[in-house]
């Protein structure tokens, strides 16, 4: 780590000059306090490693919540140019393909919810599957799962699990184009069949929150948010199916790299040209996993909506759904010329500025909503994309882990943490004491500092801060 040279380069920005093997420099968006701990975290070396990938353009970027991942750092952004031999790397997407966040806004305030909060959390706890193994809200046959892989969130909406507006407010209209179910292995399908409508475990959660503070009234209003309003935030991804697809394709690419004359400094960075047979196969399977993830969050969101209807008698509208583990083909201007790029975002969120053609009409005036899940018991944020945003219009994705699960579990008493949260008025449902301890706030960077740095670096702007009322941990 001592070898990674970090040069201050403006507000909330550091540059890693091009060294041996690097095709582009590294750029780290962070305050000095947020920089990875050089003694215990290889994230900056991973930024350097990503800069060696064939066809990378611009820079190897790191967001303020960057931390150690597999191959790519988590909080890493890299664009490659397929027309110039640019590669696609599953390690630049992550195992949990299209892991992301869905935010829904209820037509009620936190004071109205207060007397029924425990009842609501009990209903949600009973209906939202979480934890290891099988167990999803929606049991599908194999042919139906194939429809999910190509149809994304549209499939559950067409089958009564949502409303048409949900698709308007989901990234890509709820369906990522280019998905091919036949590029998904039988093993991946087996793992995904019993998990549609489930949270999983680890840092995934469903939280009932309230909007504590609004920073941008106009944007908040357009998105459907106001101070004191009750929301539901769902953080989860493509479950076992996405992990199996990543596993399968990393292995295929590891074997194929020699044929393309590609060498990588870390085997977990396995990659092939994006326009090769193996590259196209991965992108089609990745899109299928992204569609699975959107359907998964759609089903979970619909379940939360029904719970609110029963307990509170109020409607719930989708604010937005956005991924933070994806690769996308996008057009960007580089050196004055429009180029087709394959943009990897791993633990990083796309943040399109106002008037971008990919935004739905009703959001065009304010920019893309960016949903940042915070650490349990602290805060989450709604941000928006800004004009001139760096790193191919990307920003942070969360708080970023700084302590291992092992260390957090050793240092935090999970039962005490649960009591502290309950004392603070946060209702916690369904997690082991150890599971809670592993996700304790001290295991993560300060989410407020991460968001300040992201905004200060010109990657996004704050719209609203949300705090938890009820926590359902995966």
């Amino acid at each position: 780590m001592a070898d990674v040279e970090l040069v201050p380069d403006g507000a909330f920005r550091f540059r890693i000059p091009r060294g041996e093997g690097m095709r582009v420099p590294g750029v780290v968006f962070a305050s000095a306090e947020l920089l990875p701990d050089v003694a215990g975290d290889q994230a900056l070396q991973q930024v350097v490693n990503v800069a060696t990938l064939p066809g990378i353009v611009g820079a190897s970027y790191a967001m303020p919540d960057v931390h150690w991942g597999y191959g790519f750092p988590i909080g890493g952004v890299a664009a490659t140019e397929p027309d110039a031999g640019g590669v696609i790397s599953p390690g630049g997407v992550g195992f949990d393909i299209s892991c992301g966040v869905r935010l829904l806004a209820a037509h009620c305030g936190s004071e109205a919810l207060a007397p029924r909060l425990r009842q609501l959390m009990d209903v949600l706890s009973a209906r939202v599957p979480r934890g290891p193994g099988r167990g999803g809200i929606w049991t599908l046959r194999r042919a139906e799962l194939g429809e999910v892989l190509t149809g994304g969130a549209r499939y559950p909406v067409e089958h009564g699990r949502g409303v048409a507006r949900d698709l308007v407010r989901c990234e890509d209209g709820g369906v990522l184009a280019g998905a091919a179910a036949d590029e998904v292995s039988e093993r991946a399908v087996d793992r995904g069949l019993g998990q549609v409508g489930s949270l999983g475990s680890g840092n995934h959660f469903l939280e009932v929150q309230k909007v504590q503070k609004v920073y941008d009234e106009r944007a908040a209003q357009v998105m459907g948010l106001g101070e004191g309003q009750v929301c539901v935030m769902i953080h989860c991804g493509s479950r076992g199916l996405g992990h199996q697809i990543c596993t399968d394709h990393v292995r295929t690419m590891d074997r194929a790299m020699d044929r393309y004359g590609i060498r990588v400094p870390d085997r977990q960075l396995a990659c092939v040209p994006a326009d090769s047979a193996e590259g196209r196969s991965y992108l089609a399977a990745m899109a299928a996993a992204a569609n699975y993830a959107r359907a998964n969050r759609q089903v979970l969101g619909d379940t939360a909506r029904r719970a609110f209807a029963e307990v509170m008698g109020c409607p719930v509208d989708l604010v937005y759904d956005i991924s933070h583990n994806m690769a996308k083909t996008e057009t960007h201007t580089v050196d004055g010329r429009e180029r087709r790029l394959c943009v990897h975002r791993k633990g990083a969120t796309r943040a399109l500025p106002a008037r971008h053609p990919e935004l739905p009409d009703d959001l065009a005036a304010v920019g893309q909503p960016v949903l940042i899940p915070g650490t349990m018991g602290t805060a989450s944020y709604v941000l928006a994309g800004v004009e001139g945003g760096g790193a191919w219009h990307s920003t942070c994705h969360g708080a970023g882990r700084v302590r291992s699960r092992h260390r957090a579990a050793r240092e935090v008493d999970g039962r005490r943490l649960r009591e502290d949260l309950e004392d603070a008025g946060v209702v916690v449902r369904g997690s082991s004491a150890r599971g809670l301890a592993e996700e304790a706030p001290l295991a993560y960077k300060d989410i407020d500092a991460v968001v300040r740095a992201s905004e200060g670096a010109g990657l996004c702007r704050r719209v609203a801060r949300l705090v938890p009322l009820g926590v359902l941990k995966g």
Binding site: G40, D41, H67, W68, G69, Y70, I74, F95, D96, G131, P132, G133, R134, G135, R187, D190, R191, G192, L193, G194, Q195, G200, S201, G202, R239, G240, H243, Q244, C246, T247, R267, Q268, R401, V402, R403, S404, R405, H406, R407, A409, S431, S432, R434, G435, E438
Partner: protein, 142 residues
């Protein structure tokens, strides 16, 4: 890697976001068995768990390290696909790999004590024979 004096065993060690398991044993196969137990104990309390079924798998790979990854991937697969977790493991050598017998319990019947494994990585992967027997270390995405 420091090896405690017992001839076979396993433990989890800190890793930033995920799970890292070290295991050791007098033979390659016992070391693999310990690694399976180490991963399963990291997320479920298996004390008192009863085997209710059995799975067999021929696990083949080009190297011992890949064999370790492939065997643990088998465990992850059965957890997601059928909700099963091995409480007993027997691994026997075969040509280019091992034959594994997994005695399965219902994962839902076991108390959850940690985040569940979802993928096995090559990050810091170690598996080999030393003076004190076989040892391995593997990082698992949770």
């Amino acid at each position: 890697m420091y090896l405690p004096p017992e001839s076979a065993g396993r433990r989890s060690v800190p890793h930033t976001a995920d799970l890292r398991v070290e295991a050791w044993g007098p033979t390659r196969e016992e070391c693999l068995e310990q690694a399976v137990h180490g991963v399963c104990e990291s997320f479920l309390d298996l004390r008192g768990a009863q085997a209710v079924g059995r799975r067999e798998a021929a696990v083949l790979a080009g190297s011992d390290e890949e064999l370790l990854v492939a065997l643990l991937e088998e465990v992850v697969y059965w957890l997601d696909a059928e909700g099963e977790v091995p409480v007993g493991v027997e691994v026997a050598p075969v040509d280019r790999g091992v034959h594994a017998v997994l005695r399965m319990a219902d994962a839902r019947s076991c108390p959850v004590v940690g985040a569940s494994p979802k993928a096995v990585t090559w990050h810091g992967l170690e598996f080999g024979r030393g003076p004190a027997g076989w040892r391995c270390a593997v990082t698992v995405d949770v």
